[in-house]
């Protein structure tokens, strides 16, 4: 029936659909709550107390403390151990209330204003509201003969202190990284972008975890349709829990079957800031130090924040180094196999003799040799990450000495092969994003197979496959290969070179269309000439 409606009603119906899906979303989340929780707080304290005791049955961390306001009115205070600042609860809630001269049936409002010296105090009306406040660490006070309770904003919990990001280190540039606590991450962003145009839109996902998710963007710079699209996709999620931004990513990406990451994951607030300024949006998930940024292109994954902090000529050179080693990490082993198996004539004679002499004792064909070594290398790398740090060095000793030295001298693999594998390994670590470097490392294996069966032609077919896939990929509507394909000449400046800052006057085409101009023209420093005379 919907299809038969005219085009004009299409937008309307889709809105309805959207609303409906939101409703069913809420239902799905609420269905977890018992009917008890949807009730309003009752007049009688005894009822309320019984309710909370049954809800928090067997929750050993929940403290329900009864006390008297001004020595006569019964009341209870509920909080979760470790989520609230108990010292403050004692000083600014319990003691003023207990010591207050009993003025009889003070209404809740006057209680807030007169007795509780805390900035954030909120009235709560339903049991469900109380529970959500308690879970987020705000102690709730329910008094006898009162229809509403009080939630006091004294949440305070243990969190990791701000640290240097582990996965993205820089020589020059800010050294602080996100932590697991969302509020701290928000504050780091706010400290960097003070304008109220920085919006931190809050959402929730996860039936049981009720994880807080924040969509950060710059109003007036980011395309509103992008924000709407992200909000839509996030609100459609209906799962038990979101453990990390990596889980969220899988639910909202464009092509779920692609091996390529469609979000930029970063621990660095400065990277998020730079991307927000280019019109992108960042998604922060409570409990994860990694924020994810969308939409991105493949080139975002190959840029390190330091490119933009060092001199632009150096930044450009480093960027090219990275491109070259990206190709090396993807292609070197397969080229080695292809040339050794199919195209020996390409190797200069003297080199050929050296390689042939080294391979004389080796019982395996080049393809098997490469696969063995590459898999061993990947295993070493993985073991190095998983092992406790103290044992980590043992892995590198085993890797370098046993596999490198002993395998060659035992005549199981050839020395040139070890060199190839080592260079490939180093090359893959030059890619600044872990998610991208692991993708290229894994794609290397099918490439080796293609090289072993069809030689250089196989390698080329593999490259064509990858490029075709990349060309069909989009991240929130932005073509993954842009600005190379589709070509945008004036944006190549941020891909082939790192243009000096005073030249980057416009935002990238696909994300900055909404607000093109980034800065004033002609900002190249032009020092007045002192002259020698």
């Amino acid at each position: 029936m919907m299809n038969e409606m005219g085009k004009e009603t299409e937008g309307f119906t889709s809105k309805i659909k959207l609303r409906k899906s939101k409703k069913s979303q809420k239902k799905a989340v609420k269905s977890l709550q018992s009917p008890q929780e949807q009730e309003l707080l009752s007049q009688s304290l005894e009822d309320n107390e019984n309710k909370f005791r049954s809800i928090y049955k067997d929750c050993s961390d929940v403290v329900i403390r009864s006390f008297y306001i001004g020595g006569k009115d019964n009341a209870i205070l509920i909080y979760i151990e470790g989520l609230s600042n108990t010292q403050e609860v004692d000083d600014s809630v319990l003691s003023p209330l207990m010591e207050s001269s009993g003025e009889g049936n003070d209404q809740v409002k006057s209680l807030i204003n007169k007795k509780i010296p805390v900035t954030s105090v909120k009235e709560v009306k339903t049991v469900a509201e109380c529970i959500s406040e308690i879970s987020s660490g705000n102690p709730v006070i329910v008094a006898d003969n009162q229809k509403t309770g009080l939630a006091v904003g004294l949440a305070q919990y243990e969190k990791r202190s701000i640290d240097e990001p582990q996965a993205e280190t820089v020589v020059r540039g800010p050294r602080e990284g996100f932590v697991e606590a969302l509020s701290v991450n928000n504050s780091m962003l706010r400290r960097r972008i003070r304008s109220p145009k920085l919006k931190l839109k809050s959402m929730k996902a996860g039936k049981y975890t009720e994880t807080k998710i924040v969509i950060a963007y710059l109003e007036g710079v980011a395309d509103p349709t992008l924000i709407e699209e992200i909000t839509n996709r996030v609100s459609k999620i209906d799962v038990d829990g979101i453990m990390d931004s990596g889980v969220l990513e899988e639910f909202i990406e464009d092509d779920p079957y692609s091996p390529f990451p469609q979000f930029l994951e970063t621990e660095r607030p400065d990277v998020v800031t730079a991307n927000l300024l280019e019109g992108r949006a960042a998604i922060l998930v409570d409990g994860s130090p990694f924020s994810i940024i969308a939409p991105i292109t493949i080139y975002s994954l190959l840029q390190a924040s330091e490119d933009y902090y060092s001199r632009f000529l150096i930044g450009t050179a480093i960027r090219w180094l990275r491109y070259v080693f990206l190709l090396v990490s993807l292609l070197l082993p397969s080229l080695y196999v292809a040339i050794l198996t199919f195209h020996q004539e390409m190797i200069p004679t003297t080199l050929m003799i050296t390689v042939a002499a080294a391979r004389e004792q080796i019982p395996f064909p080049a393809l098997v040799e490469v696969l063995m070594m590459e898999i061993a290398f990947e295993a070493l790398r993985e073991a190095g990450i998983r092992l406790p740090k103290q044992v980590g060095s043992a892995v590198s000793i085993v890797g370098a000495l046993i596999i490198g030295e002993a395998a060659v001298s035992a005549g199981i693999v050839s020395a040139p092969m070890v060199i190839v594998v080592a260079i490939t390994g180093v090359a893959s670590f030059t890619i600044p994003r872990y998610s991208a470097s692991i993708t290229f490392r894994m794609l290397r294996f099918p490439m080796i197979f293609l090289a072993g069966t069809l030689g250089l032609l196989g390698v080329m077919l593999g490259i064509i496959l990858i490029i075709v896939h990349l060309a069909s990929l989009r991240s929130f509507g932005v073509p993954y290969l842009s600005p190379m394909a589709p070509m945008k000449f004036n944006e190549i400046k941020d891909v082939l070179v790192r243009a000096p800052w005073w030249k980057m006057n416009t935002r990238p085409h696909f994300t900055g269309e909404y607000n093109k101009s980034r800065q004033a023209d002609n900002q190249r420093p032009q020092p007045s000439n002192g002259g020698d005379e």
């Binding site: 069809l454 030689g455 196989g458 077919l461 070509m487």
Partner: protein
């Protein structure tokens, strides 16, 4: 419309350029050398006229029927049954030419680089890869072309620069020893390559901007002409009277390269990069066949028939001729007439019919 994607005029050029160049650059120097002798560098200039005529006819038809391909408007011009017949002839022609291209590609790879690999594996793997691109749609093909064409061009320029010291200008002399006739004769076979720009009829309707299609089509013709003149000139200067004896003169030239006695025998790399150009060519033809067939049969979507067509293409590639010599014979003798009939005379008749019957989309709406 079946195709939802839209591409820019620049992307059209970058798609059509390798569609002609990919195989032309391999075979044209050898074939023109046979007929034109040392005036062979002139032949592509004459041949490019055919390209201009095709583009002109297709652009005129496109103006009358924007957002439609020749398969669709031939039905509107001359009625349903004859229109379908013409559509079928055109599609079969593309089917046959793509079979030929696949076979040329397969013979080239097997003959020069992978002598023990079965032809069907080489052809089949290429069809699979192109099929994925075709399924992705015109946008994906255009973007892939934007990645590969600069690499192919860079390679071509690099070969030319590295071999400049070996060139022998005296090979060009004497000019016009036998008048203009040999160079005109040499132009006949390259004509068939320029006529392949006929595929523009499937690209014009998916352009983002309506205007500029013809202008950029002509620019494509010019770019192809320049490239072929350069490659002919280059092989002539390098090999002189030997040129016609090679099947793939440019590849022979790549074999010549030797830098510091260390980097040598680059032909495998040249082959690998050339394959990316051929991939674009095969994909464009493949796309034309898939979309054309879907339009001929009034299908909603062309994606489901892409891989079945791929299977038929593989068979066409294997059965079209017993060996490369037969293909070359076919290209030199039959193909020019075959191509001119399907790609110039047929659309020209359609255009005349459209003018006489005053048919265009606006009137029908």
């Amino acid at each position: 419309m079946i195709e939802k994607g839209r591409i820019s005029t620049g992307q059209m050029v970058i798609l059509l350029y390798p569609t002609v160049i990919a195989t032309a650059i391999l075979l044209v120097p050898g074939i023109t050398g046979k007929f034109a002798g040392n005036d062979m560098w002139l032949s592509p200039i004459w041949a490019s006229l055919a390209g201009c005529i095709t583009i002109l006819i297709m652009a005129q038809l496109h103006n009358r029927f924007p957002r439609q391909t020749i398969i669709q408007y031939s039905e509107e011009i001359i009625g349903k049954i004859p229109g379908k017949l013409i559509g079928f002839i055109i599609l079969f022609f593309f089917f046959h030419s793509n079979g030929l291209v696949l076979r040329e590609y397969g013979e080239f790879v097997v003959g020069n680089f992978l002598p023990t690999t079965p032809l069907v594996v080489v052809i089949g793997s290429m069809i699979f890869v192109s099929g994925l691109a075709v399924r992705g749609g015109i946008e994906v093909m255009a973007r892939s072309a934007q990645v590969f064409v600069p690499i192919v061009l860079f390679l071509f320029i690099l070969i030319v620069i590295l071999l400049i010291p070996d060139l022998e200008p005296a090979n060009l002399l004497p000019f016009f020893e036998k008048g203009l006739i040999p160079s005109l004769k040499g132009a006949i076979v390259p004509t068939t390559w320029f006529l392949q720009l006929f595929a523009i009829t499937f690209i014009l309707p998916v352009l983002k901007k309506k205007e500029g299609g013809m202008k950029w089509g002509m620019i494509t013709v010019f770019l192809i002409m320049v490239t072929l003149v350069l490659s002919n000139l280059f092989t002539m200067l390098l090999f002189g009277k030997l040129t016609p004896t090679f099947t793939y003169p440019i590849m022979e030239a790549a074999r010549y390269i030797s830098i510091a006695d260390f980097i040598q025998h680059l032909e495998s790399i040249v082959m690998a990069i050339w394959v990316s150009g051929t991939f674009i060519k095969i994909s464009v033809f493949y796309y034309v066949i898939a979309v054309g067939t879907a339009q001929l049969l009034n299908l909603q979507d062309y994606r489901p028939i892409v891989f079945p067509i791929g299977g038929l293409l593989a068979v066409m590639g294997l059965w079209t001729a017993p060996n490369l010599q037969q293909i070359q014979h076919f290209l030199i003798t039959t193909m020019p007439f075959y191509a001119v009939i399907v790609q110039i005379i047929l659309p020209l008749l359609l255009l005349i019919a459209a003018v006489i019957f005053k048919k265009n989309t606006k009137k029908i709406n």
